[in-house]
Symmetry: C2
Subunit: 807 residues, 2 copies
Amino acid sequence: MTTSPESSGGVTQSHKPACPTAEMGRWPASWEQEMQSTVNYLWHTDDLLGQGATASVYKARNKKSGELVAVKVFNTASYLRPREVQVREFEVLRKLNHQNIIKLFAVEETGGSRQKVLVMEYCSSGSLLSALESPENAFGLPEDEFLVVLRCVVAGMNHLRENGIVHRDIKPGNIMRLVGEEGQSIYKLTDFGAARELDDDEKFVSVYGTEEYLHPDMYERAVLRKPQQKAFGVAVDLWSIGVTLYHAATGSLPFVPFGGPRRNKEIMYRITTEKPTGAIAGTQRLENGPLEWSYTLPITCQLSMGLQSQLVPILANILEVEQAKCWGFDQFFAETSDILQRVVVHVFSLPQAVVHHVYIHAHNTIAIFLEAVYKQTNVAPQHQEYLFEGHLCVLEPSLSAQHIAHTTASSPLTLFSMVCETPKGLAFRDRCRRQIWVLILHTPLKCHVTRAGGLPNLLRSVQRSGKGTPVETGRCGFNVVSTVRAALDIPKFFPKVDLQADYNTAKGVLGAGYQALRLAQALLTGQELMLRGLHWFVESLQATCRRTLEVTRMALLFLSSSLGTERFSNVAGVPEIQELKRAAELRSKLRTLAEVLSRCSHNITETKMTLSNLSSELMKNRDQVHADRSIQQIQCCLDKMYLIYKQFKKSRMRPGLGYNEEQIHKLDKVNFSHLAKRLLQVFQEERVQKYQASLVTHGKRMRVVHETRNHLRLVGCSVAACNTEAQGAQESLSKILDWLSHQLLQDRTKEAQASPPTTAPYPSPALKDLVLHMQELCKEMKVLASDLQDNNRVIEGLSRVPSAPDI
Amino acid sequence: MTTSPESSGGVTQSHKPACPTAEMGRWPASWEQEMQSTVNYLWHTDDLLGQGATASVYKARNKKSGELVAVKVFNTASYLRPREVQVREFEVLRKLNHQNIIKLFAVEETGGSRQKVLVMEYCSSGSLLSALESPENAFGLPEDEFLVVLRCVVAGMNHLRENGIVHRDIKPGNIMRLVGEEGQSIYKLTDFGAARELDDDEKFVSVYGTEEYLHPDMYERAVLRKPQQKAFGVAVDLWSIGVTLYHAATGSLPFVPFGGPRRNKEIMYRITTEKPTGAIAGTQRLENGPLEWSYTLPITCQLSMGLQSQLVPILANILEVEQAKCWGFDQFFAETSDILQRVVVHVFSLPQAVVHHVYIHAHNTIAIFLEAVYKQTNVAPQHQEYLFEGHLCVLEPSLSAQHIAHTTASSPLTLFSMVCETPKGLAFRDRCRRQIWVLILHTPLKCHVTRAGGLPNLLRSVQRSGKGTPVETGRCGFNVVSTVRAALDIPKFFPKVDLQADYNTAKGVLGAGYQALRLAQALLTGQELMLRGLHWFVESLQATCRRTLEVTRMALLFLSSSLGTERFSNVAGVPEIQELKRAAELRSKLRTLAEVLSRCSHNITETKMTLSNLSSELMKNRDQVHADRSIQQIQCCLDKMYLIYKQFKKSRMRPGLGYNEEQIHKLDKVNFSHLAKRLLQVFQEERVQKYQASLVTHGKRMRVVHETRNHLRLVGCSVAACNTEAQGAQESLSKILDWLSHQLLQDRTKEAQASPPTTAPYPSPALKDLVLHMQELCKEMKVLASDLQDNNRVIEGLSRVPSAPDI
């Protein structure tokens, strides 16, 4: 908390928080004397929250309600300021009323010395700066917390603009944190000592602020003391917000000359003013070395790629010194609101073994979601297939994204790509990005980590130290992922006791340790999600097997009922009947189909067995993951390291240590080093190696699963084709049945009409009888004919005799 | 840590730990002067860990390695003891070597005063007593931690017995806690000041120990100073272990006279000696009131019923004053080992909405597991059906229990009972035990909780205060669950400032608060598990739908191919052919079956829709559960309460408070009360009510799901029956096809044989032609016959003429 007397136009040069809130120790004997109060409030001067040039801030209590408040007590120096400057802070605060801006409750006076006291809202959890100073946040805030900061700062700033107020000293130290009733963080802008009313197009000439967060124009005059006469507008707040957000996202400042921002102010000014459009950070790694620009957030940043891709353009456009290119507040509010209105869908990509955060608007269609997934995973929308909690989950592109289930990082949508069975199989292996952080243990306290995609962006070029230079080692199927060789550069203690240096070293090591813990957790979660995702996929294949099997068995039953018992072999000499021949053919075809189906059924049963074996393998692996204790081991080292770090933090405030204390301090350093070494060993030998092994196995299993899936699809197609053919054959058979029935009926009908029931010699002669009778008839006729010939011969003979006298 | 000079036979009367480890405050100016050391070790007299009559224990460091140790420094009083008693502790410790017994590293002397110093293993995490004194454990340890205590105490004790050592002062304060490399607790027996060598059947006469944990025989002589001359055996340790385990499991002592164990020692003795067999606790609730016995652990105990049922018989048998009934060490080791060798399977019973812990041996068969589940859930083994991670999970009774997947409390096996569709449906509703803790807010700081089964045993008769009397309110389907009306009796502050009383009150309230938090978490987890379990069950029904639908559709396709196109109507006057009539009937039957199947298919589609709707309802509910913030709200109140409690804990050490401090203290009390009120309000109005509502909905949905399941089973049976019938009909049709083919072939064969191919005038005469020809033949024969008659007449006439002269 810093205040600057307007008269001197001074800029606070201190980056550290004025004084860390002292932990309540034992009650000192003189406690009672150090109490101060106003009419309604009471505080102890030990409860100092912050101190500036004109005032000190204490934690106080309402005498009646006990409510905790912050009181800002102005000192004598403050009264040297012009009257209108003295009252400006009250007036600004009175005008404002917003949950993300610290509230002014009252203005009172102390009892004895009659000093002015501002009674304000108390935030129990320190400032954003103190959060960023904690080793856990050495590489920036976690995604959720960052989004809370963004939401609060944007909302508070919006309220300031609506009221025509310019803050002029926005920085993490002036953003206080409060824990809400649900445990959530609420951030509030505070310290309006430098604030004044200023319309959008108005200008001011005094300089305020803290140099690391200062707009280059102000920096030029305030820090470099250049005699320019620029007037400044409301945009100065926007620049400070940009630096603040970068700091919150990464744990580091965006613009760092060699030796730090305060060591080389000319370079600092050059970095901010020469920064190319689109760049969001600039570093000078070597003394007098070149400036290096960065267009992305460092790999150590904890934010997901999904969020980073939204955030980076905003940072690039507000960290822009050219007024023509720089966004105004309106655009800033619009773009940040767009991020804040989005919901996150967690997607675990099974082929890549990575969790993605996909930010979409609830009113978007699912098609837009699929497209967003494509951007992060390179799996085309039409090839995306999802599992959620063990079951296939069909996402209809035309529906609203609200139909997507509520996901969490540990219960994400699991993405499976359908495309891997095509000859583009190579792309699958490439896309899998099975490369991983490789940790190389350099010294007991120095280790390097090489990364090549695939993991949450926990570690990238750690600590712009010059040791982690990017090395391109691999290409991926769709986009080139340049492999960044990053150093998880754990600093080393110097043997000599130097309380401040030792504290700094311990802090750095602890920060790296927390990063290693997060990475280890991500690796373990990744392993768990791979196994679970595969398990679910195998289960869904098992379900397909069961369904196909059931259909196949049903078809076989229906077929077997149509096969008949006898074969129609042609009797020699009997005229062929086409339909019967066809029926025989159809039945033979059905028999063949039945054989095919039976083979399919057998095949599926075998596939089921294979899948079952894979399932039990996965189960065993999951038990191993459950039994893994590396996270607990790392956590345990960290807990012990943290205790030593806390001791170092206390010690550094002391002027020096006695002999025995110094001995203990030295032993603590040794102890701390041992713990750090052990931590890295567990990380490397337990976690990373196991993860690497599991990725290799995962790749192999993914291939097996894909092959099985394709195989099952083929078998399924065969079964379907067989069924269609079988149904066709059955239909034909059914028609033949019709024909036969028809034939038989017709014949019988004619026969009935042909033989007249009563006149026929053989009332109902069989054809055979008829023929026999005809043969008899013929014989008789032959006898008759021969008799007739005999007779004729006799008559001829007689007629050759002289004709007898007429009778 | 207490030591008792053997000579006096004294019993430590103090129950409190000698002095809580002072948190490292600021470095006092006089730090350097208060250091002490031996040749190899160095400590600060502020780092006092414990103090007894003959020695003090400090946290110290190895001068070279920095390793932390505990040093026990004997004072002048200790040298008044007989020499053999003085050396006994070293000698006992030297003999022992076990990870659950504190290790002796060295015996050294201080530099100046040449006091004897025992250098021992340092346990950084205090004692089991300090763990039990923490408000979080006010109602005993969580199950996992309790099992660690049991394992460690049993193993350590076993080592003592193997070496013929009796400890004689076992109590939570003498069981130290260390955090292992994986963050797990390791407990170690310490303070062997009262220990001596003693064989199993040997006796001793001196009395040692701490009265709450003392065997009644020793108590009689040591506390009541009765002039009995009993000698004591190794069993005294077993009694102390019993009291210690009860304390660890419940947070309270088992034997409590009105006013506390130290207020009424005669009653204390009566409770321990008159305790009936099987009872594990005895309380006197009213002044001069009757003794009440308890045969179970209190309902507030955090241990699962599964573990309680194993533990209670052990406690009952070692808290047994009659030597004949009391277990020996061998039986104690055997029975505790049996518990410790078991693995836990987490089973969430969907009909009951409760998580059960089922303890089984890995070598048990699944049948034994199913039986164990039956004991806890009343769902008979043959009716148990399990889901795990979204999928049905078939547990083959004959297999080993090792085949059961690894479960956790948040990822349990989900039990579904198959029996609910039978008319025993009522049993389902009974068994569901939908009763729940009802929280009645009495006063702002006093609330009562009524419990009736169904929830983890978090709250039972809270604080044997006489206010929570058991009231039987309901019967369950299978066993009577007597409803216990338990008071979450939150004590009230007295308005007057009394630092010790206020601290005690705050501690009590905080303990109840943590209990409420755990209960709230259990309720939320229960809600989540209900929804997830139902969701999975619905998914599995959906899969059944899909499978049945596919089968039905397939059957319909096969049927449609057999229906034929024409109907065989009998032509009038044509003789009926039985087979054709039968075919017609079969086809008509197939058509009917097709209609039935089509209706089934329609029905399943409708069921699917219903299930989909239920699914989306469940999804919405799950989103609500995810959005629930009551746990965070309660946690938030607790965090703030904890800070005040910590302040009170510090204040109570001070002789008094100044005016302003007292004001702040009063305000803190008010604040604390407000927070407690808010906590209970959230618990009651947010958590409990929502849970109750969700239980009602769950019950309704369970009925729907059961009905759907039964309906689907019926439909499935219909489909199967239709299919069987259809297959039968198809088979008959196929036979008719055979018959028809046969008939036609036979006819044609006969015909072909009847007409001789070449001699016949009409080589291939149709029957019609044949008849025509025969008619012509007949006509010709008639003509021929009449010619012949004419001829015969001519010949007769000629022969009547006189015969002509011979030629």
